[in-house]
């Protein structure tokens, strides 16, 4: 123990560890929202949607514009949150119907190049609409401060995320496991062709799933906007993280994304305490180890 303590002086600092765990949890919740959408879209449509990060970015920019319309109004923040995420859901639906749907029957990798093109287009459009300036979104006044947790301050806004994240996870879980639509989605993840043969309108299901996935990306972006800078380039950062989370959790697995997001959140939180020098490589090392030991991810399904 003495040795450990010498190595990691924080190890006996209970409150610090608690705060570290909690901030790791909140990071995990943000990651979960984005990666759940990506995983869902991949599971059903087999599209690796590179534009997922761009959707996240658009939502954050929309949020920055909407919130400043009625600054300080207590309810407006939530309206803006809803509106910007729904707008991104609509954008996702539009893209699916007009572009992606045309090439489902082609080489499935072509969709990858198409979404790569979308990154370029959306990034430039954001620059044209909002300009190059960094932007921010103020936290709602009630959540601007911090709470005391055993003598350690902890930001209230993160508490909100800690509550909202599991709620959304629960709601999605109920949808997937307790509704007929959720059943269809899960069936599509296993065998799309069979589902089509059984008379389900798969094409419509794809669109719906794409809209839901985009909405989750949008919600992630809108919720994250008050704690980050809304800036060009935020799309690439989140895309990489979402990638890693999805792969670790198992592609197409909803519960897997949740567990993996929480795991990655803790890794980021403690990684910098334990291995400050190589924290940058930890994420990918974890991903590599998981893929080597359990190639289909924590809760994914081995492929045929």
């Amino acid at each position: 123990m003495a040795f450990l303590q010498q190595l990691f002086p924080w190890i006996t600092n209970g409150p610090l560890i608690l705060v570290q765990v909690m901030s790791g949890l909140s990071v995990g919740m943000f990651l979960f929202l984005v990666s759940a959408g990506m995983s869902l879209i991949f599971g059903v449509t087999r599209i690796v949607n590179l534009a997922h990060g761009a959707f996240y970015m658009v939502a954050a920019y929309l949020m920055s514009s909407l919130v400043s319309l009625f600054p300080g109004h207590p309810l407006w923040f939530w309206v803006a949150l809803l509106v910007s995420s729904l707008a991104v859901a609509a954008l996702g639906g539009l893209i699916e119907v007009t572009l992606l749907r045309r090439i489902y029957r082609r080489e499935h990798l072509l969709q990858l190049v198409l979404t790569f093109g979308l990154i370029l287009i959306i990034g430039t459009l954001v620059l044209m609409v909002w300009g190059p300036e960094n932007r921010t979104v103020p936290r709602p006044t009630a959540l601007a401060g911090s709470l005391d947790i055993f003598g350690q301050p902890f930001p209230t806004y993160y508490l909100l995320v800690l509550i909202l994240g599991p709620l959304i996870a629960l709601a999605l879980g109920l949808v997937f496991y307790r509704t007929r639509w959720g059943m269809l989605v899960r069936a599509a993840t296993v065998d799309r062709d069979m589902l089509g043969a059984l008379g389900v309108d798969v094409s419509r299901l794809f669109t719906q799933v794409f809209i839901l996935g985009s909405w989750l990306a949008g919600l992630g972006g809108a919720l994250a906007a008050p704690v980050v800078a809304v800036a060009l380039g935020m799309d690439a950062e989140v895309l990489i993280n979402a990638f890693v989370v999805v792969v670790i959790g198992g592609l197409g697995s909803f519960a897997g994304s949740l567990i993996s997001a929480l795991l990655v959140g803790q890794l980021q939180s403690f990684g910098i305490l334990i291995f400050p020098a190589i924290s940058i490589v930890l994420l990918f090392a974890l991903m590599a180890v998981v893929l080597i030991v359990r190639p289909w991810g924590l809760l994914g399904r081995p492929e045929e």
């Binding site: 082609r106 072509l110 198409l114 287009i121 044209m128 490589v281």
Partner: protein
């Protein structure tokens, strides 16, 4: 709309384009040897870059087009080749040619090490593990200041005196690329290449007829890494410097985009893709320095929607029409 469906049901346009390739190979070679004398220096540089990208993409397509394995991390082997050569010049004082020759072996060694784990996976997991290893390579290069120079890169990696002039280096790259492509062509037309294609079409069946699937895939991975590394080493001496960006994930998408634009089911696909993509990119980004991503993105989307089988697919479609 009917022609669209008919094209969709076409058998792979492979043989047609390849016969054409052999027929025109000599003429094309002669053209490429003569043409730089009629072009400004910049186009000589552009042709050099196209040749390097074509080699990289063709090496990538050995995996994707012939082996059915999609790597999202091929920049790693490009970068290993580039850094291997650059480090031998900088740290061991190697002359250019031996360093260049050693680069691909560094990449192949990396491909062997990572490939051992990667080929045990399939489809998208294969892609993701290759991405993970590439990011690890990137991070090591980025962080290891004392050895790789970190994000300061390694500067002053120039070709030997007799290859200094743009045209001389162009001919050199052209020759090396031609050899590399010939080697790749020999590989895909060998029994090994056919076994690889068999694995792509049906791994289980390939196994039943006695093909050691994983070993073939690993060999293909190592060979692909080797030629990617060769392209990387050529690129290092072309630019005179190497930076960690060469291993970053957006570099990994370059061969993917090039091959998909060119057409992955023809040996000539990556070559056509390299020429088309680089021409487009150069023209668009010098014409619109601020808004080029918008234009480029729109072109990519349009090409995908109009010609989903790539440039080679377009050619094949033309040939098919003429035959009617």
């Amino acid at each position: 709309m009917q022609w669209r469906e008919m094209v969709g049901r076409l058998p792979l346009p492979l043989p047609l384009v390849e016969v054409r390739l052999q027929l025109w190979a000599v003429l094309l070679g002669a053209f490429l040897v003569v043409i730089p004398h009629f072009l400004s220096t910049f186009y000589v540089f552009l042709l050099t870059e196209m040749a390097i990208v074509a080699l990289f993409a063709a090496a990538f397509n050995l995996l994707m087009g012939y082996g059915g394995m999609v790597s999202f991390g091929h920049a790693a082997y490009f970068a290993l080749g580039a850094y291997g050569a650059a480090l031998l010049v900088k740290k061991a004082g190697f002359p250019m040619l031996p360093a260049l020759a050693a680069g691909p072996f560094v990449a192949a060694a990396g491909a062997l090490l990572f490939g051992f784990f990667i080929v045990r996976l399939t489809a998208v997991y294969f892609a993701m593990l290759s991405l993970a290893f590439a990011q690890i390579v990137f991070t090591v290069i980025f962080k290891w200041y004392s050895f790789t120079g970190g994000d300061n890169g390694l500067l002053g990696i120039w070709p030997a005196a007799f290859l200094k002039s743009p045209i001389a280096y162009y001919y050199f790259v052209l020759a090396v690329t031609a050899l590399g492509l010939a080697a790749l062509y020999a590989i895909v037309s060998s029994p090994f290449g056919y076994a690889l294609k068999a694995i792509r079409e049906n791994p289980r069946r390939a196994r039943y007829i006695g093909v050691h699937v994983k070993r073939h895939q690993l060999w293909a991975f190592v060979l692909s890494g080797f030629f990617s590394g060769l392209a990387g080493a050529l690129f290092a001496f072309f630019n005179g410097s190497v930076f960690p960006d060469l291993a970053f994930f957006n570099k990994s998408f370059e061969p993917l985009v090039v091959v998909l634009l060119g057409g992955m089911h023809a040996f000539s696909g990556p070559l056509l893709g390299a020429v088309g993509f680089k021409l487009l990119e150069t023209f668009v980004s010098s014409r619109w320095p601020v808004y080029w991503p918008l234009v480029m993105g729109a072109i990519l989307v349009a090409v995908i929607l109009v010609a989903p089988q790539g440039f080679a697919g377009l050619l094949a479609r033309l040939a098919w029409w003429r035959k009617r």
